[in-house]
């Protein structure tokens, strides 16, 4: 085995590069800064928007507000906008979105010095206090202002139409801002804010971080919307449904599962499956095994299946003098009972792994303590990154394992895919999956027990042994997780008729941390270093997740650990395995920086 080879060489340099033996390929290691997800903060929202605006401005040679009007109309989907442009032409594109451009813009008000009649307030006003919109309609500034304020208060900032009847033109945002701020600066600010936030709210590539209380950030994903991201506030979520990260469960499955777990109806079903009112005194009577003749404590015997009072004489399959015909039939109660047991089976395992994860998260402090004890012993090999890396591997695979149960509950149940497979195929696929699941389960448990070893009391020899085992199990657990995702995507969900079930791809390095979008102040620096600084800045932030990095103050400042923690950071800020972008450079710059920033820096 490869890991074994470098292990026996005992060289430190190799250790810090290959970490836990999982991230051994350099390619992936360096690609960490090539994140396809970005955090859009209040500060970078403008930059994010400017970039798209400039693309449209360049493409169609229009002014910024027209680009914005077009983009808002097309929900910030540049591809859709371009398609409409190519298909239906410039004129159609503009008029549909409410962009009108009159060549001689100032003519209406400039040729005359005599008062102009405003048709809204029906007053004569001096020509310098009227404004002509791009559509050519001219009214007095007071009326325009009033109109804008009403529209902004009405929540229509994104599409403030001209005042003229049947005029579809969208008002020039500069004019709106200018006139409104003269009368009411706070409403003008709101208008500005609305326009800015349109970039988030009307944009399918961008979503608000679902943290509560809200961190103020939004996340932009340039690739597949089926992915899981971590905001700089530490919140991890499924980008597609904004709920917690739940792969390898699909969004609809997870939604159903959450509801099912909240739903008390399961226990209600249990009650109806397990008790029936006595036909005489109405007390609930429980059936505990045996035949279908039950007796109430009042002494009344009755038929469990129809609930009717009967005599006592009975056999396994009939009650004397009673013939409801259901005595032996497969019945509903039975089914509700089986359904409940089935649910309990999956729920208990789902919950069990979640609980283990919580416990293991607490392991971290004690493990770090052990590491510092061993470090003080001055053994030959001072690098203990394998411990921490193994622990993170444990967290990630525990998660996968846990969510694989709700997946299996729906995948092999009747609720969703009852008609998609034959019973035989279902059984076959279920066995295949459960095989993998069990294998993963046993490896995860093994890794967990290895990490609980009191290695601080070990000899150097024994530590070397443990290290090898931790690394080996980490590698195999990673491989098993990947295999499970592939099995789900290719063998289970893939062949289904209805393609609504998609899962986020497996990410060996854990949930992708969104990188911070560079903001204006940063642009004087070298682009690459900006990105790296961004990642490091994110490091000390508090995180509520399980995959928190080793940043406690108790952390010893030995060189070995320092190197580890920075490696860990890279380790977690990872791109997906199925990278949607390869190579670095041009695409990155294009996607993350407004064009004028790029120009300014000579890229």
């Amino acid at each position: 085995m490869e890991e074994f080879d470098y292990l026996s060489s005992g060289e430190e340099e190799e250790d810090c590069e290959s970490l836990d033996g999982i991230e051994s390929d350099d390619q992936r290691w360096t690609s960490t800064s090539l994140s396809s997800t970005q955090v859009i903060t209040e500060e970078s929202l403008l930059a994010a928007q400017v970039e798209d605006l400039h693309r449209v401005m360049d493409l169609l040679t229009v002014r910024e507000q027209h680009a914005r009007t077009l983009l808002i109309y097309h929900r910030w989907d540049i591809d859709r906008l371009i398609a409409a442009f190519v298909e239906k032409g410039r004129e159609w594109l503009f008029s549909e979105a409410g962009v009108t451009m009159v060549e001689s813009r100032n003519s209406a008000s400039s040729w005359s010095s005599s008062p102009i009649m405003c048709e809204i307030c029906i007053e004569e006003v001096p020509p310098n206090s009227v404004t002509t919109m791009d559509c050519g309609h001219c009214f007095c500034n007071d009326c325009w202002t009033e109109h804008f304020i009403v529209k902004i208060n009405d929540g229509q900032s994104k599409r403030v139409r001209c005042m003229a009847h049947k005029c579809n033109a969208i008002c020039d945002e500069d004019i709106v801002r200018k006139l409104v701020s003269e009368k009411n600066p706070s409403i003008a600010d709101r208008f500005k804010r609305f326009l800015l936030e349109s970039y988030i709210e009307d944009n399918k590539k961008v979503k608000w971080c679902p943290s509560v209380p809200h961190c103020g950030n939004a996340i932009r994903v340039d690739g597949d919307a089926y992915c899981e991201v971590e905001c700089t506030c530490g919140k991890q979520f499924c980008f597609s449904c904004s709920l917690e990260a739940h792969s390898p469960c699909s969004c609809p499955m997870w939604d159903l599962w959450v509801k099912k777990c909240q739903d008390e109806s399961e226990s209600v079903n249990w009650m109806t499956a397990n008790t029936k009112p006595c036909p005489k005194c109405n007390k609930p009577v429980e059936k505990n095994g045996g035949c279908n003749l039950v007796s109430c404590i009042c002494g009344q015997p009755f038929c469990w299946l129809c609930g009717g009072a009967t005599g006592r004489d009975h056999t396994w399959s009939s009650i004397a003098g009673h013939s409801c015909g259901r005595y032996n039939a497969a019945d509903k109660a039975k089914r509700a009972e089986t359904d409940l047991y089935r649910y309990m089976h999956y729920y208990n395992r789902f919950k069990g792994h979640m609980d283990s994860l919580t416990l293991e998260t607490k392991l971290k402090a004690s493990i770090q303590e052990k590491v510092s004890i061993v470090e003080s012993k001055n053994f030959g090999n001072k690098d203990y990154s394998w411990v921490i890396n193994g622990l993170y591997r444990l967290f990630r695979s525990r998660r996968v394992l846990s969510y694989s149960y709700p997946f299996a509950f729906y995948m092999f149940g009747e609720d969703l895919f009852g008609d998609d497979m034959t019973e035989k195929i279902r059984e076959m696929k279920k066995n295949l999956f459960e095989d993998q699941q069990q294998q993963l389960e046993s490896h995860v448990e093994k890794l967990s027990s290895l990490l609980e070893e009191k290695f601080d009391e070990f000899t150097e020899e024994k530590i070397r042994d443990l290290r090898m085992h931790v690394i080996n199990f980490s590698v195999s657990v990673d491989g098993l997780c990947l295999k499970m995702y592939e099995c789900i995507e290719n063998d289970l969900l893939g062949p289904l008729q209805h393609a609504i079930h998609n899962i986020a791809p497996y990410n060996s390095k854990g949930i992708e941390k969104a990188s911070e979008l560079p903001i204006f102040q940063d642009t004087s620096a070298n682009l690459k270093s900006t990105k790296i600084t961004g990642a490091n800045n994110a490091l000390p932030r508090a995180s509520t997740t399980n995959e928190k990095r080793a940043t406690d103050s108790s952390q010893p400042s030995s060189s070995g650990l320092l190197r580890e923690s920075s490696s860990m950071d890279e380790n977690i800020c990872s791109t997906r395995k199925r990278s949607r972008k390869d190579g670095r450079g041009d695409t990155l710059i294009d996607l993350n920086l407004p064009t004028w920033v790029v120009d300014k820096n000579g890229f």
């Binding site: 809204i120 307030c121 029906i122 009033e146 304020i149 009403v150 005042m163 003229a164 009847h165 005029c167």
Partner: protein, 193 residues
Amino acid sequence: MDLSRVQKELKDCNKDREISGIGIEANGGDLTHLSGTITGPVGTPYEGGTFLIDVRLTGGYPFEPPKMQFRTKVWHPNISSQNGAICLDILKDQWSPALTLKTALLSIQALLSAPEPDDPQDAVVAHQYLRDHATFVATARYWTEAFAKRVTVGIEEKVQKLVEMGFPENSVRKALEIVNGDENMALEKLCSG
């Protein structure tokens, strides 16, 4: 609210009242609560009727649309036979400050001529309009007769009653005419000035 514009609108609208068949009056000095009248268009089941429309202006007028509602009962697919609510786009999102009360009332008058049963306010009426047009016309005509031509019906009794309350006969007659014979509204008008 732009009071001077409303005053100008009232003056302007009532100038050609005879020709347009559209009138608007303030209820006393209150410029936020007006009474509009439209005459039923010739050649429709509403011909010969005078329809009273309640007009309320918000503080945002003319940047917000006026609220209009029939006071006279009318049988029409786009007007509620229950409460007189009107389904008309320019009174909602298609309102433009460049429109006026008069243009709004003219649009309502046009609506009487050309119902839009596909966008109904009153489903029952709309259904009848589409399925049983003859009955629809008969009902609409009957409602016009019964509710929109009350001006002279029993008008003398009302005049008498109001005069007895101490209002001068001239004002009483004028008030009753404006409100289309509605005794209570006439009283309200007389009291408010």
